[in-house]
């Protein structure tokens, strides 16, 4: 029972951090509950499918199916998170104005919600498939599911969900005018961490071997298999022994998101810039 509790808690905790952030990011946007719930449901369904086909998936692409699948969905999540941040940079101000004007106004944020729902689904799918595989293994070993296992899993799920709730409640205490900045930063680091994880999968598959040397080792300070290490790994992609290519991917993702956000930001009204620019041109 304890094993089931621990592993379910650990995986729900990791997915819950991401879901909590996304709930905070979309706070006040009409219909977000449905989108996030849809993302969770799709993720759970996907987790079962992935767990069911682990054998087949592993054998694809000469045994690298699992790595390529993981790298692929992680890259997709990076694109969705980037897109969300860029969208918010473009429409965030208008969104905030609408929210302030009408409280629970119907905001035209559904496109961005879809991107975030996909991120939720991917997070739940990744962590959930491990839960399904593990619990299935326990059940198979025992010759059937036991009440202890079900109870352990249930308690793990509740505790993990509390982390999700705490993340959300913690973030929404941030005053609205800072919330956009904080959540955009969180999402950028989340995306960078996912990009670095995708690199690790490509390295593990032997597809990407360039710049695979370890740049530093901070396992003496904070091991990435410790509780805090795992939380930071989920949130900002902390690893105690990153490779050079991982660091490049991490930095490149941050720079890319920041650049795109700047490029697509709502143009701020530029008073008396006309004559000046005319002169230099």
């Amino acid at each position: 029972m304890l094993a089931a509790l621990l592993i379910v808690f650990r995986e729900v905790f990791e997915a819950g951090l991401i879901v909590g952030i996304i709930m905070a990011v979309t706070a006040g946007v009409a219909g977000r509950g449905l989108w996030v719930a849809g993302g969770v449901a799709a993720g759970v369904l996907g987790a079962c499918v992935v767990a069911l086909f682990t054998d087949g998936l592993s054998q694809l692409f000469g045994g690298d199916g699992q790595e390529l699948f993981n790298a692929g969905i992680l890259a997709f999540a990076v694109v969705m998170l980037t897109w969300h941040n860029v969208w918010m940079a473009r429409h965030g101000r208008q969104l905030a104005a609408e929210l302030q004007a009408a409280g629970e106004a119907v905001v035209s944020g559904s496109k961005s919600l879809a991107a975030l729902a996909i991120v939720v689904a991917i997070a739940v799918l990744r962590e959930g498939s491990e839960v399904v595989l593990f619990l299935y293994g326990v059940a198979a070993a025992q010759g059937g599911a036991s009440w202890g296992m079900v109870a352990g899993g249930f308690v793990g799920l509740i505790l993990g969900s509390l982390v999700c709730l705490a993340t959300y409640l913690g973030l929404i205490t941030i005053p609205t005018r800072y919330l956009f900045g904080v959540t955009s930063t969180l999402i950028a680091f989340l995306a960078a961490g996912l990009a670095a994880q995708a690199i690790a999968f490509l390295q593990q598959a032997g597809i990407l071997t360039a710049l695979d040397e370890t740049v530093w080792n901070t396992s003496w300070l904070l091991s990435d298999s410790s509780f805090l290490g795992r939380a930071l790994h989920t949130l900002i992609g902390y690893v105690d022994q990153p490779s050079a290519m991982q660091l490049i991917a991490y930095t490149a993702t941050l720079v890319m998101i920041a650049t795109l956000m700047k490029l697509f930001a709502t143009p701020v009204e530029r008073p008396q810039s006309g004559p000046a620019s005319a002169k230099t041109a």
Partner: protein, 116 residues
């Protein structure tokens, strides 16, 4: 014309880089190979040795009736090996040291890779 040329150059650079990475990948294939099996949640052998500074391919055979996840932070690998299945992970050239690996689904199942 000039605009076109400026667009082509970065593309060529990206292709060249991709090519270089593929070549590096192909070269890395034939180096140190290690086999480990798991039975009754024990690695066999629980201590494996590998040459330094050579890319490694570690083959993990899961002889148990339940799935396992072969994982190591220092080796930077994590791979689910289905019940009765086999998986291969690739590891960068390692400097001398001891690298721990474990089954993430059964954390007490642990082993070490020693690079002399």
């Amino acid at each position: 014309m000039r605009m076109n040329f400026m667009h082509v150059r970065p593309l060529a650079a990206v292709l060249a880089l991709a090519g270089a990475i593929c070549v590096a990948g192909a070269q890395a294939q034939q180096n140190g190979e290690i086999s480990i099996s798991v039975k009754d949640h024990q690695f066999d052998p629980a201590e494996v040795h590998a040459p330094a500074n050579k890319p490694l391919a570690i083959t993990v055979k899961n002889l148990d009736k339940v799935a396992m996840e072969f994982e190591s932070g220092s080796l930077r690998v994590e791979k689910v090996i289905p019940a009765g299945g086999t998986g291969v992970v690739h590891v960068r050239p390692l400097s001398p040291g001891s690298y721990e690996f474990f089954d993430d689904f059964h954390r007490k199942t642990r082993g070490h890779l020693i690079v002399p």
